[in-house]
């Protein structure tokens, strides 16, 4: 006999949502529904007791779905039945043609993966600060619109004027600085640190993981260090508390270690509190926390009312400035990351549109093939809306399957990007992931995709006279066939995929060009490091002594110092050539410069063509000199002798430099060849780069580098010791990753479009098999028929190629703004994309062409 159940089991809840489950079951099981639901509730409650809520919930929902599938059409009479019946028919149709269903779901998975990945990247860049209620932490800027939005500095006095604004629950300021951290037990290290007002850390709601906060007065010379610095320099020892260090040439005491991952505001490694007197005269970036219920605009209005201009402007009697309040992380995007990510999102959406068009085509073609069975359903009483709903539900099921598949692919890709690209993200709070608004966005895309893929096939079937279809009339065939829509879909897919592939090709070419950088220079043989000279020391004297000490080290063939490396892409402002006239300052060309010591040219094998190179005699106080590349001379100094010409750049403080030599330009792939080098001794720089070249193993020179510098001045901080090849690899890592994603997306789009083209050609060959059979029977050559099919393929491919490449050509200036370099209109790239595109298009036509040529006239005509 059945065992007694708990008295409330049958009245208990089903796996949520109960009403939906009951409605589904009631619609399909009629009078039995009450008992069935009661049985399900009883079994579900028992499972919860025995196996836990999670397993019971999964089992319960399986029961609901499986029970719905066994429902009887005659049992249910409610309006819930029709959609459920449509879903059952849709599921059956999908099961009957598993190959097409899996192909469609796979295509949609590809289509969903791309925008999901790229949206995750974009969300990662826009994420709020990783502190409690980080979305309410805002930054305050004061800008001058009449001066191109230039931001004004704010001091502690201005923060005092703003104190009391009711829209803010906290207000403070910070200034980011660089300094040398020294301790008795560790080598001098350059760190980036933040000087904060006392309100900042309480405002953020963050405290040290070890130790205590500074007392807030700034008088205790306390400093907090970051977790990573603690691990690297102090081996993670709790003895760090109370350690006496020097930071920025001032003695301080370590009082705390901040939690792992904290690097406020932009990746800093140490924090100290400004004394009120220091804060009043320190230019700072304001930061605040919005009060509950307050908006950015309300806060900005209150602060604007209290703003009376900076000290400098007060002195100049030029009060102005507009106060802006924005999320702290809003708009941040170092190196154009936000623009690049947004561009990738657009590429991803293109891919999804391509995928949806492809699936719509597949569903349209399949509906055409099933038109007779749909016609029979109509004859048996199914209404047009019911048949259309069936096709929409098929598309929805495919979209859901594709969405899940796309999320899986995106999860893998985002994990890879996070693991390999975290170091390249501009700000420490950037973290990619499938959270936040990404999942709801994907869910929305699933619904949109289902509509996009299912609407047209559904409408076409709903409008067709299925009785005419059943009668076999030509009109019936025309109404139910895919018609011109199919070709339109394919052309759209091909056009978008061509444009996406061209954009991806340009991005990939840019990275490839940048990759040639290493082959132009002995990058693996050169060791580099960033030096930070003593605060307040004699930089000029130090540079000369450092170069001499480095050159004297055993194993070092050549040594040099410079502002940047040979491939540095830092503009040195607008160039002015003596004797040239410029209508406006903006007409002066931007130049790419460097300042070097004499050894620089030997380190990098830069050959002299004319005159002389930088020499030790080119010291501070002597006549400024410059050495230019031959490309620079040709472009900016005209046809005559470049030696003796004079030029100046803002970095030289308006002094004219005389050209004393011309060196051979080197091809960096990316970046200009027109370069000018000045003497490092004549350009102020507290943080030069050191370059050492010895034998083939550059890393073996690292001990020599440190010992030479320690002998000159132990307070010189050395950071980023790595080979020139490593420097280059770091520079191209993030663009390479983005280019790889773009190329992958472009190729995926091309694959999807090619599948769509194949489908259309296959259907067309099948539909016209009678005509093909007749032509063959009358003596036509099979190869001629195959050529005709290839022309059918080219009909959408050629216009798509023209429009796609043309669109990419027009958009190339936008692409050029975010690339490493290279030419966004490189004809080679466009030609390669064109060839690849044509090849794939023709490849998609091979099988249909072969089938057309292999048509057996006798079989076809007998079947007719």
């Amino acid at each position: 006999m059945p065992e007694p159940a708990h008295p409330t089991d049958r009245s208990g809840a089903l796996p949520a949502p109960t009403r939906l489950a009951e409605a589904i079951l009631r619609g399909l099981h009629g009078d039995d529904a009450d008992a069935l639901v009661g049985d399900l509730a009883e079994a579900y409650q028992r499972r919860r007791r025995e196996h836990g809520a999670v397993r019971a919930w999964g089992w319960g929902w399986w029961q609901v779905v499986a029970s719905a599938a066994h429902g009887s059409p005659s049992a249910g009479r409610s309006d819930t039945v029709r959609p459920v019946l449509g879903a059952r028919m849709a599921l059956r149709a999908l099961r009957r043609d598993p190959a097409t269903s899996m192909l469609a779901a796979g295509i949609l998975a590809l289509g969903f993966s791309a925008p999901t990945i790229f949206a995750s990247l974009l969300w990662g860049a826009a994420r709020p600060l990783p502190v409690a209620e980080g979305e309410r932490v805002v930054r305050v800027d004061v800008v001058q619109p009449e001066r191109d939005g230039r931001a004004l500095s704010v001091t502690g006095r201005d923060l005092e004027a703003w104190a009391g604004a009711s829209a803010l629950s906290g207000l403070g300021g910070f200034a980011v600085r660089g300094g040398t951290l020294q301790h008795a037990r560790v080598a001098a290290t350059r760190v980036s640190y933040a000087a904060l007002t006392g309100e900042v850390l309480p405002l953020l709601g963050v405290g040290p993981a070890l130790g205590r906060l500074p007392d807030g007065s700034g008088a205790d010379d306390a400093v907090l260090i970051g977790h990573e610095t603690w691990q690297e320099l102090f081996d993670g020892s709790p003895d760090v508390l109370g350690a006496e260090v020097t930071l920025g040439a001032r003695a301080r005491t370590v009082v705390g270690v901040m939690p792992e991952g904290f690097a406020f505001p932009y990746g800093e490694q140490a924090w100290l509190v400004l004394a009120p007197g220091d804060a009043d005269t320190t230019a700072m970036e304001p930061i605040a926390r919005l009060a509950h219920g307050a908006s950015n605009d309300a806060a900005a209005a209150q602060l604007q009312a209290r703003w009376s201009g900076s000290d400098a402007m007060r002195e100049a009697d030029d009060v102005g400035g507009v106060v802006l309040v924005r999320g702290f992380t809003a708009g941040r995007g170092e190196g154009g990351e936000a623009v690049a990510f947004l561009g990738l999102v657009l590429v991803g959406v293109c891919l999804l549109v391509i995928a949806c068009a492809n699936v719509a085509n597949l569903l349209l073609v399949r509906a055409t093939q099933r038109v007779r069975s749909l016609g029979i359903q109509a004859a048996l009483g199914a209404g047009a809306p019911q048949l259309g709903l069936q096709l929409l539900l098929e598309a929805l099921v495919l979209a859901m399957a594709g969405g899940l598949g796309g999320l899986g692919l995106a999860h893998l890709a985002v994990g890879w990007v996070q693991e390999h690209g975290q170091a390249n993200f501009g700000y420490y709070w950037m973290r990619m992931g499938l959270d936040g608004p990404v999942l709801p966005a994907v869910a929305g895309l699933v619904l949109v995709a289902a509509l996009m893929a299912g609407a047209l096939p559904a409408l076409r079937i709903m409008r067709a006279d299925l009785r005419a279809v059943l009668s076999g009339s030509a009109e019936g065939d025309r109404q139910a066939g895919p018609g011109g829509w199919s070709r339109a879909f394919v052309t759209t897919q091909l056009t978008l995929s061509c444009a996406a592939l061209a954009a991806a090709g340009i991005a990939g070419s840019s990275v490839f060009d940048a990759g040639r950088w290493g082959s132009a220079l002995p990058a693996d043989e050169v060791l580099t490091a960033r030096l930070h000279l003593s605060d307040g020391g004699d930089a000029d004297l130090a540079i000369e002594r450092i170069e001499a000490a480095l050159s004297a080290e055993p194993g070092v063939r050549h040594a040099a110092l410079a502002v940047g490396g040979p491939g540095a892409w830092e503009p040195w402002g607008r160039l002015e050539v003596d004797g040239e006239t410029y209508d406006r300052p903006a007409d002066r060309p931007v130049t790419w410069g460097n300042a070097v010591t004499p050894g620089f040219f030997a380190v990098h094998d830069l050959g002299l063509l004319q005159g002389r190179l930088i020499e030790h005699g080119d010291r501070a106080g002597a006549t400024p000199v410059a050495v230019v590349s031959d490309a620079f001379a040709r472009r900016f100094l005209g046809e005559g002798d470049p030696l003796g010409r004079r030029l100046r750049v803002p970095r030289l403080d308006s002094a004219w430099a005389t050209v004393v030599g011309v060196f051979e330009a080197f091809d960096l792939g990316a970046g200009p060849a027109e370069r000018v080098y000045f003497s490092l001794a004549q350009v102020e720089t507290p943080a030069p780069m050191a370059f050492l070249r010895g034998g083939s193993d550059a890393e073996a020179l690292a001990p020599s580098l440190r010992s030479a510098l320690a002998a000159v001045d132990p307070s010189i901080a050395v950071n980023d010791v790595q080979t020139l090849a490593d420097v280059h690899r770091y520079m191209v890592r993030a663009p390479s990753m983005l280019a790889a994603l773009a190329v992958g997306g472009g190729l995926a789009g091309l694959l999807v479009a090619a599948v769509g083209l194949y489908g259309v050609l296959a259907v067309r060959v099948r539909q016209r098999r009678r005509e093909l059979g007749v032509r063959l029977a009358l003596g036509a050559d099979g190869r001629r028929l195959a050529r005709d099919v290839l022309w059918w393929a080219l009909a959408p491919v050629l216009p798509a190629l023209a429009v796609g490449l043309g669109g990419a050509w027009l958009a190339s200036p936008i692409l050029g703004a975010i690339l490493l370099g290279g030419d966004p209109r490189d004809p080679g790239v466009y030609a390669a994309v064109g060839v690849a595109f044509l090849s794939v298009g023709l490849l998609a036509a091979v099988v249909p062409a072969a089938r057309a040529a292999a048509t057996e006239p006798s079989r076809v005509l007998r079947a007719e």
């Binding site: 409330t8 008992a35 049985d39 029961q63 029970s67 599938a69």
Partner: protein, 109 residues
């Protein structure tokens, strides 16, 4: 022999479960019995649609049990085998035995 006399596999299992459990059984124990003895997952929908079919063939009959004396309490649908149902089971079993006659070694029975 009437066409309604032929039993499908799941109809067999449901009838045998009712026979095992006795008169007045209902959906939950029937499902548990089939899952436990036959080792196959079964949905309540499958059980109920089969019971409807068997009832239409006259092989089982059902009646509503009393609802639980609690708010929202749902009544059970109780079932029992009819004499025709028992006879159909017996005929079906005999049919299978005749088909399997002499195959004991092969079938391992």
């Amino acid at each position: 022999m009437a066409r309604d006399d032929y039993l499908g596999e799941f109809e067999h299992l449901v009838l045998l479960a009712i026979l095992q459990l006795g008169e007045g059984t209902y959906g939950v124990p029937i499902r548990d019995e089939i899952e436990g003895r036959a080792g196959r997952p079964v949905s309540f929908g499958a059980v109920y649609s089969t019971l409807r079919r068997l009832e239409s063939k006259g092989l089982v009959e059902s009646w509503a049990g009393e609802a639980e004396p609690v708010p929202g309490g749902r009544a059970r649908k109780l079932v029992r085998l009819t004499p025709e149902g028992l006879a159909a089971l017996q005929r079906s079993r005999a049919r299978l035995d005749r088909m399997a006659d002499g195959l004991g070694d092969v079938l391992g029975t």
